[in-house]
Symmetry: D2
Subunit: 337 residues, 4 copies
């Protein structure tokens, strides 16, 4: 339920209502706005009815949240949420560029790639230390050693870092080294992991699963917010369809749909979304034009030697060129890098 207070409602009055909601075992939300205070109450609506909130003299209206997701919904929170990773901002007109190699391989590879990202205007460095790989015999990432390298190189080039966490048990150590935690597509409905990152106190990037409907993605985000973390960025990275010319089908219409339904920022990953280097730049620009609040792009100092995802990683000069094009395009689209 969304409870809109009348303009003159006092802080004490609001506090009293929140306490009454919580006393019934419901989750109470406090959302003060410029003009009036809005409260939320999540849980069994029959219980809520017993409070007769609509009869309160300072309550203007009580209305249900129609969507199955609540905390992520624009119904409940009409203003854009801005998510900050270090000095980078996503949402509310701010556009963030996340770039780096698929996997952390060694210091030279990471540093070279990070410098290429930084030169192109990236505001966050990415790099995988724990890699979810289809085959048990493929390179599985450097693990903790990779986390340490990532943190060190991020500091060296002056960029905050984001990396994927694939297991609840790893959340603590990843959160110790990284500025933001990424949930990969294969784990989008690993609900135990969603709850764990929700409690970790770091911004989260949640990637859409390969067969996840837009509503499924928002429900997965709801798990994170319901665990106490609203610093969450949604990421469109392609869905699985019958088309085989590209690795996935990048569903860019998901960007304006997500932004209409949710207040959370939305970014696009054209690298996984296409799987083909030559398509990364056009689809990055298309993502920006579709209204994305940022991009996540793979760049590698030497793509042909990459231990994973080489064919979709940009060369440093291509990364630079993408940065230039974005810088020219974004102001026309009402956003800034």
């Amino acid at each position: 339920m969304i409870i809109v207070m009348k303009p003159g409602a006092s802080t004490d009055h609001v506090k009293g209502l929140l306490e009454r909601i919580e006393a019934k075992g419901l989750k109470a939300l406090h959302m003060p706005g410029a003009e009036r205070v809005v409260l939320g109450a999540l849980g069994d609506e029959r219980v809520l009815a017993e409070l007769h909130l609509e009869a309160d003299p300072m309550v203007e209206s009580v209305k249900p949240v129609l969507a199955p997701y609540k905390l992520v919904s624009r119904e409940l929170q009409p203003h854009d949420t801005i998510v900050r990773i270090g000095a980078a901002s996503f949402g509310g007109g701010r556009f963030g560029l996340i770039a780096g190699p698929c996997a952390v391989e060694n210091e030279a590879q990471l540093l070279g790639s990070a410098k290429a990202a930084k030169a192109a205007g990236a505001s966050v460095l990415r790099g995988g230390a724990y890699k979810p790989r289809t085959s048990p015999y493929a390179f599985q990432g450097l693990g903790e050693e990779g986390l340490r390298l990532l943190e060190q190189v991020g500091r060296e080039v002056g960029l905050p870092v984001v990396t994927e966490v694939i297991e609840s048990g790893d959340v603590e150590i990843v959160a110790r080294h990284a500025d933001a935690l990424q949930i990969g597509a294969r784990n989008m409905q690993n609900f135990a992991l969603l709850k764990a990152v929700g409690r970790a106190g770091k911004p989260v990037i949640l990637k859409r699963g390969m067969s996840a409907k837009i509503e499924d993605l928002l429900m997965a985000a709801e798990y994170v917010l319901a665990s106490g973390n609203d610093q969450l960025i949604l990421c469109e990275r392609g869905i699985r369809t019958f088309e085989t010319a590209t690795r996935n089908t990048l569903d860019l219409a998901a960007v304006p749909v997500l932004k209409a339904k949710s207040h959370l920022p939305v970014i696009v990953d054209p690298s996984h979304g296409t799987g083909i280097r030559d398509l990364v730049t056009p689809m990055a620009l298309a993502g920006a034009a579709a209204g994305a609040d940022g991009l996540m792009v793979e760049v590698h100092i030497d793509p042909k030697a990459a231990l994973s995802d080489g064919p979709q990683s940009l060369h440093p000069d291509e990364m630079l060129e993408l940065g230039r094009k974005l810088a020219a395009l974004l102001p026309l689209l009402g956003r800034s890098l």
Copy 2:
């Protein structure tokens, strides 16, 4: 096979080779370029081998076309084909905007919508006279009367017109009234119809089928070119996937893929591609950013009264706004309206 001639090859020599190719029952192609002449020979390659073209003193090289499509392939024809519908051009850096109502309903509706299209910068007017409808009980279009209205209104506002043809038997009458013929998604593999429009001598817009791979679309285009018509525009209009938040999933990565594989111009239809008015403008801009050579957009003077596709038709003022945004964006993308 692609036969590249040496720089000094005389016209007579080339003509002789073309005659020898045709005498073997193969299709011969003559593609004079700025620096040298290229010939094509399509058909049974064992027969071609009997000509021993590589032994001809003026032949520089003979190489196979690797793709299953030949005439539409960039291997055979490396330069962009520019397709012209009236004064509008598509391809080679020229961007065309096709707009109009889904269906021709009556003169007032069509004229009002056409003026809105024209005001927004459209260079071609669209409108359906024969409508392929899922239900036999739905409005099936005005037929010949619709064609006459379309031609008349096009002349009145000064725009060439394109309309869909759904049956081989109708190709002649549609070609009499329209400046370009459209093949709809449901007929993309109606091979009899593809051959008929190939012989009609008018530019063709070929829409991708809902379950067509990019290669299937190119093979369908090959039918048209093999029937003698190379004035063909490919149109991405969304594929069918599990996602239900949008009517179709607009596969914008298909744009750079198609342009890499083929010399034909590629346009995007964000109206059918999303089915939702509010998504049309962001996806139109995204299509342009992805590299499209044009757009096909539905606009209606009064969408809520439309006999078909009202929910995805732009209002005239939204159309105008889209035109403005495109005009600002395209120069940055190296194309002009």
Copy 3:
């Protein structure tokens, strides 16, 4: 609308009602049952309301058809329709086996394959004369010569024949040679063709399109029935999904869904549905177990020499074995070959 008459309604009374319905420009249906007569009225329901049929003393009830399809719906026609092709029957507990080569290639190939089909218990011979091929350079079928061979061989082995028609203009000649007309998956929404076969007076087999929902298939069938032909068999032949291990994904759940929603018989084509010979027999048996009223199977006297679809065609001995297994299984499933 479905109009249920009271038990004692006279023939004249019913006739009078039908005339009143038609006088309003609606389509009137007469469905006499064992216990009582049911009438149907299709068209603008506001017009129907003007007749005040519920006030007629011999009318028991008037209720709407909820599905978007009407004539194909079980709401309107609760009893199984039995479709007959020559001596073969499909539906209402009767199971028909259609078999033969993908394409008619020559007399020896067709006759050998037809004998193999007959020996295995097939009741209808299939064979394509007009082949819809993805590539314009592939074998397109023998055309009219193929029709003649098919008719001749069918007579020789004593089986009725079915063949695909791909173009409205060909319906007449195909109907002259064949006992039933097939609409292929690519033409499932070629509405002009659906209307043409609806008027041809021969049983129709309608294949589900590769991206057609079950409801789309029923709407396509409605076109045929609305054109005056209710001898129609629905055919599940696989849909296009992300899975590439099989040519298509055979959606066997469509069989019980279709049979619940429609009175029309449903068959399964495991040859196109899988594209792989070794999968044809298990999926044929699975189709029967799922409740199908028949099968359409490709058999070729020499699959490795087939001009099309060799990899999915059964060898004659495999066909024989399939026939044996079906004969054992069907009685347990309440159906007979």
Copy 4:
């Protein structure tokens, strides 16, 4: 690599080879057969080449495993693996029926449902204690209390029990109470969890992910086998496609494909595969006819009161009827309940 020994190879000789393989850091497999011993060596094949095994006098042949999966492949292990859960067997001609409610709700519900399962011939009882739910606000299962109830009721009715584990940290406690561990579709590529169940020493049922290709499923199974557990059953439970008439599209062709590529048993879940009660029985029979080694079916003592998946749960009498039909059908298909 697969190393086939000559018929007379001594145990000591074989042991020596295995030690040499392991000394190189490769995984060595010992697969004694009726006629001859086969060894496997997994890992970097360049390292293996250094052993020059083909020069060993008792080695008949050395050949690569072509598939990306190794331990699950029929290339490496040609004979059917039989997986045993309590007294139930799956594979090698033995057919197992797993039945029970979606979730453990309380003792009465579980006991009633378990008796219905047992009466119908089920050999394993299923019931979820940890439920992966799309919404954080939906019933998430009884947790450990559910495990205890499941174990107790299983003992009471005399059936082994299987339940889902959704988090690595829960594997130990689940393995303490259950006879087999289930990995759900959403966790099919939760590689940390796959490794954990691989080490748990209990049989595993691995469900195919909603967007998993058959090869992805086999690669996920490879994770479990590579962790030391070859008692694994593959489960087809429907994939996500554009069709919305059913909850998922049950891909029954996956059954014969999986059985051709792997030695592991394959079962079908028609409950999740369709989501609709009336489709469960026909698709269960179809699964058996397609060659499955077993079924997993949801039955509930009172489906309309179920806390989850009520619409797809069989009533006890429907379960009984399914058991009767299976008992009649299976002997014809060469398998026994």
